[in-house]
Subunit: 371 residues, 2 copies
């Protein structure tokens, strides 16, 4: 009932937060072939599942990005989204025809929020259609595919970003800032515990072809990625051990529980857990010679909480996906450099580590890394 | 100034807590060759260093055990202790003559609180002198020596206990009780982080001959042992990775930092850290399908603190060494079975695991265990 008032409220808020939006109104001018970058990022979401829905909801509060299109294989979902988000028919696509998006001047970027195993082909199609690609993480299921996606986007002259929402989360950024300022001394240890008890055994996350793996692809990646932004270095070796207690639920190629360890060039080490069989995880701990930081929860949808030896981290609680999409608008349209990268190269590093974790599980050997 | 009042206060408290002590007064009767077991455990401490001093202080509050003798190579320390603890000359020994303790009917047990590398020979000498042996942990520096100590004590008909003070700590016991009652569901993960920044590089703990190893022998053993009492099983495999950033301070054979992982027969895994290069550790985390427990600090001298998904653990704060020595009096004199074992066999298990951790660090391979 309040939608119009909300809408006006948002416009006003946007105008205050982002004064050049007035100018952006002229971006629709058809004579302006190279549109001003002082405007909203116009996004189509591909994949209208639960996370896609969360992103769409969050984008209603964006001041720099706007949901303008959808790509889905389910006409009833498309209809519902059209009506809810006021999406014109011409901005609606399905998986057969979305290459035609190249002829649509009203869409800047496509946010691919489909199962992991589909990202590779879909992102490459988005790139070929000349649109910027945002991929949900994991960007894909292995490093080779990641490289192909990077290459395709480079070739097409479009940007490739990945939904690393924690890279914009204020408590996380505050701890990174403290670490950079030396407040923890020399950082020598990171621990990341990532996991949850997964439900419905028939879901795509437990189907190797769609997921590319098990808990590691879905939730373990938070500890993989977190180890890097918390320590501030890229690892040089990996060891890992897999444990499977339920081979019926977790079939061949779907990891239930993996412990993995990382070594960093500055001498730090990380001990991490990825599991689909325990809750109460989502814990980060960073220890240096002069202090520590801990986060619990550390990567869920929030509110995120952190403490250091100096006390509670005071930072705003934000809707991660709102901030992410606003920041991505600045990155894509205005070349902003985020505090922690969210591009394809960043995702490639994580996938090289995940490849190495799986290799270490298989071989029982330490795997060296060059990222 | 208040020492007499304190003393009387303690006697009264002891009499209430332990009413059969009245009867114990007759234990000094020289005609009673096989003394009643309803009496105080009369202990000599071997090694009057900082931890020996802590134990002696704590024993002043014991109601079932009493410090009655000393073994030391430093005559000035012996004098000071004699005067402070009212120890008769005839109960004072040095490292050359302490075998004569066998002729001393006023000492029941010797608590060996010397560097790790000396425990083996000293405990065997104590056993041969017919006295019960209490060894500080690690009981010795490898499993083979541990077995020899167990055998020697068995042969001599004396008991062999190890200073596992956490096995009597109330918060710890409360969490173990909850785990046994199934309050955490099926326990699948334990994490133990043990370490501190070690100071003086010339101390015995950094001398392989005396310490038998580095952080693992000194502080890592808390996570080794803790994984077993927190999960309630003995591990069946070990993997481990060593990292040495300061080879000048941490010489050959002295481990600075070791990450190790354990697998348990019920499907649980443990991820642990042992280090001499970080503070703010001493953290335990136990996770099951229905709940979790965390402790910080988890093994220091206290107060110990624990939380579960149901809230704060409410348990008394005790002086660990006081409770340990009172409990050991009951174990030695009255055959009490502690909730968590503190005997030589318990220590042997830890040393088999530590042997395996060192082997895994050396070989890079998973080491199977049968405890």
């Amino acid at each position: 009932m309040n939608s119009r008032r909300d809408f006006l409220g948002k416009i006003t808020a946007a105008s205050i937060a982002f004064p050049f939006l007035k100018k952006a109104a002229s971006a629709n001018n058809p004579f302006n072939e190279k549109p001003s970058e002082d405007r909203l990022l116009r996004v189509a979401i591909m994949g209208l599942g639960s996370y896609g829905t969360r992103v769409a909801e969050a984008m209603q509060s964006c001041t720099k990005a706007k949901l303008v299109g959808v790509i889905s294989g389910t006409p009833s979902k498309v209809k519902a989204w059209q009506s809810k988000y006021n999406i014109p028919e011409k901005n609606c696509y399905n998986y057969s025809n979305f290459d035609e998006i190249k002829n649509n001047p009203d869409i800047d970027a496509v946010y691919v929020i489909t199962p992991n195993g589909l990202h590779h082909d879909e992102v490459i199609r988005v790139a070929k259609a000349g649109k910027h690609a945002i991929s949900e993480k994991p960007m894909t299921v292995n490093a080779q595919q990641a490289q192909e996606m990077i290459d395709a986007c480079k070739k097409a002259g479009v940007k490739l970003l990945v939904g690393y929402r924690m890279h914009f989360e204020p408590h996380t950024l505050e701890i990174i800032k403290m670490r950079k300022a030396g407040e923890f001394g020399k950082v020598l240890f990171f621990q990341g515990l990532s996991g949850f008890i997964i439900g419905d055994p028939t879901q795509w996350r437990l189907n190797k072809k769609l997921s590319g793996g098990g808990s590691m692809m879905d939730i373990g990646i938070y500890s993989v990625n977190g180890s890097r932004y918390m320590i501030g270095e890229d690892p040089i070796w990996v060891t890992a051990q897999e444990t499977k207690n339920n081979p019926v639920k977790f079939k061949e190629g779907i990891d239930e529980t993996i412990q993995f360890q990382l070594g960093f060039p500055g001498g730090a080490v990380a001990s991490c857990l990825s599991t689909y069989s325990l809750n109460y995880l989502d814990r980060f701990f960073l220890d240096g010679t002069e202090g520590f930081a801990q986060m619990y929860p550390s990567t869920n949808y929030g509110p995120i909480r952190g403490q250091t030896n100096k006390g509670e981290i005071i930072a705003p609680d934000v809707t991660h996906q709102t901030v992410q999409m606003d920041e991505m608008a600045d990155i894509i349209l205005r070349g902003k450099k985020p505090e922690v990268p969210v591009d394809g190269e960043e995702a490639l590093k994580d996938l090289k580590i995940i490849d190495a974790i799986y290799e270490a599980c298989r071989t029982g050997k330490k795997v060296k890394l060059e990222l």
